[in-house]
């Protein structure tokens, strides 16, 4: 649905992105992840036709971004980082204006506005001036304008930036609800957001692609083993020996009060561990994944300069 090939953008001598190639599947939510100034906004601006690339190719919804710009713009809903609002307009008149410039037929304009208002729960502020509504509602209006023409692809640049925790949860729920009917690409540097909302990520740093894929795929490609941290009510050397005898266990380490157990990705030993605990009447206080979490993954990729 979104595909880039060797995409490069230079501002004079400054290389904003270089040889960026990635693919986002239809109906999924994909995160564009990277530190500040990594090139996320530039990438999104190229995909939306706001900026031309210096070289390379990009396609959205099957249309070439450079050669079929109008079809691409018709297929995309875009929320820039600075929500593009006219404070002197009411929410309704603003959405009506966006529907017109997105070429929604006049006969369907009202229905399109109603639908966008309903999806983004803007009913309470529908008739109010944009300058008088809260930051959270403004963000919703921004998302509503991106949805107004029911585009196949939605691109959201930092959609939760500057919101309070309750608003962040609401906006994330809203984004999750778009999955399936729309393909969504969102940029963020909030890792929890990626974990909660996204099916996969494209990680870029200093304009270069560091990794891309689903979170599971990335975790697998960056660490050889899967595993768990196990915290038991009580255990002794005998219990440790029992765990060591679980077939296909690759390693067992004691880390403080926890036991770290590891196995290869294709051989999940969680059922065997639970079965052993039940048989030996061992009380589990906690069991959590020891596979690389998104924070570790991100830091390894970005800080370590590791490329997939």
């Amino acid at each position: 649905m979104i595909e880039t090939e060797q995409l490069t953008k230079k501002y004079g001598d400054l290389v904003a992105i270089k040889d960026l190639s990635f693919r986002v599947e239809e109906g999924k939510i994909w995160g564009l992840l990277g530190p500040n100034a990594a090139g996320k906004t530039t990438t999104m601006r190229i995909l939306t036709g706001f900026l031309p690339a210096t070289s390379g190719r990009a396609s959205v919804a099957g249309f070439d971004v450079f050669e079929q710009a109008e079809q691409v713009k018709q297929s995309i809903g875009y929320l820039p980082e600075n929500v593009p609002l006219y404070p002197e307009m009411t929410v309704e008149s603003y959405l009506g204006f966006v529907a017109e410039i997105k070429k929604v037929p006049a006969s369907r304009k009202k229905a399109a506005v109603d639908r966008a208002v309903e999806i983004t729960s803007l009913q309470p502020v529908r008739k109010r001036l944009i300058r008088n509504i809260s930051r959270g509602f403004k963000q919703r209006v921004g998302i509503a304008q991106a949805l107004i023409h029911n585009p196949r692809v939605i691109i959201l640049d930092e959609p939760t930036i500057g919101l309070d925790p309750a608003q962040i949860v609401e906006i994330r729920q809203l984004i999750k609800s778009l999955k399936g009917e729309h393909t969504v690409m969102l940029s963020t540097h909030i890792l929890a957001e990626v974990k909660e909302v996204c099916d996969g990520v494209v990680i870029i740093n200093e304009g270069r692609l560091m990794a891309s894929g689903s979170l599971d795929e990335l975790a697998k490609s960056f660490s050889a083993n899967d595993g768990v941290y196990l915290k038991l009510d009580k255990f002794d050397g005998q219990v440790i020996e029992l765990f060591k005898q679980i077939p296909n266990l690759k390693s067992l380490q004691l880390e403080g009060s926890e036991i770290r157990l590891e196995w290869s990705w294709d051989n999940d030993l969680r059922p065997a561990i639970l079965k052993l605990c039940l048989e030996k009447n061992l009380t589990i206080r906690e069991m959590r994944s020891a596979a690389m979490n998104i924070e570790e993954l991100y830091l390894r990729i970005v800080s370590g300069g590791m490329e997939q």
Binding site: G49, F50, I76, Y78, P80, E88, I101, K103
Partner: protein
């Protein structure tokens, strides 16, 4: 055309939901009313004096004595007011970040520019339309020649169109509305005073400077003379401004 009208409607809404359009139109109407009243008062005084001499009485002409100076005065007020009308057209979009919405929509840059320009022209029409209301009474109580009168207003509209064309160009270059207005005002003033420079120039230079001056082309129209070269001049200046605006926007995005 539909997209152009959508942009124009939005711009008009912005003009009339802020005080700018109301202030500009009100002051323009007020000043034009004042000048008109003063000129009619002066005309009456002169006419009474001239009526005592049959030769001079034949020289009494309301078009030359009231409307021609009125149009000149209005053109000066427009020079001061229209930079305020054009200053926000692109500057505000840049400042508010809304240009990203416009330029990622399936409307062309040309349609966006024309939509904004059309809205500014409608504001200009409102200014001229309101200023014309008091002058209609001269047709009820007197018999001015309608052709020079209408040509004078056409001249003001074309002149205003040229001013706005240059104004929209400056607003595309900066996100600061004041800077945009000052640059527009400076440019208009420069074009205006070219005829002064022409007095001290000779030969070809004199002709070139005279041709470029706003004043020289406007003068004929207030006397009821419609010259194609004047029309071409004003339309060329407006087109030049819009063309430069398009170039600036494309250059900024493609650099």
């Amino acid at each position: 055309m539909k997209a152009i009208w959508s942009i124009a409607k939005k711009e008009l809404m912005s003009y009339f939901t802020s005080p700018i359009a109301y202030i500009v139109i009100s002051i323009f109407t007020l000043l034009s009313g004042f000048f008109f009243y003063s000129l009619v008062w002066w005309f009456n005084t002169q006419a009474i004096q001239m009526a005592q001499n049959p030769y001079y009485f034949q020289q009494v002409n309301i078009n030359q004595m009231v409307f021609a100076p009125l149009f000149h005065n209005l053109s000066i007020i427009m020079l001061l007011m229209l930079p305020i009308v054009s200053m926000r057209l692109f500057s505000e979009e840049k400042k508010m970040g809304t240009e990203e919405l416009l330029f990622t929509s399936p409307v062309s840059v040309v349609q966006i520019i024309l939509g904004k320009y059309l809205a500014a022209l409608i504001v200009l029409l409102a200014m001229l339309g309101l200023s014309a209301i008091p002058t209609i009474f001269t047709f009820i109580h007197g018999n001015p020649e309608p052709v020079p009168y209408l040509l004078g207003y056409l001249g003001l509209f074309l002149l205003g169109g040229a001013f706005l064309g240059l104004g929209i160009f400056w607003s595309s270059l900066t996100e600061n509305q004041i800077v945009s207005a000052v640059l527009t005002f400076g440019t208009l003033l420069l074009f205006w005073v070219l005829s002064w420079a022409a007095y001290s120039a000779h030969g070809l230079w004199r002709d070139v400077l005279n041709y470029l001056s706003f004043f020289e082309h406007f003068d004929g129209m207030t006397k009821g003379i419609l010259d194609t070269s004047d029309l071409v001049y004003y339309l060329s200046i407006a087109f030049f401004g819009l063309f430069l605006t398009h170039s600036v926007i494309q250059f900024r995005r493609w650099r």
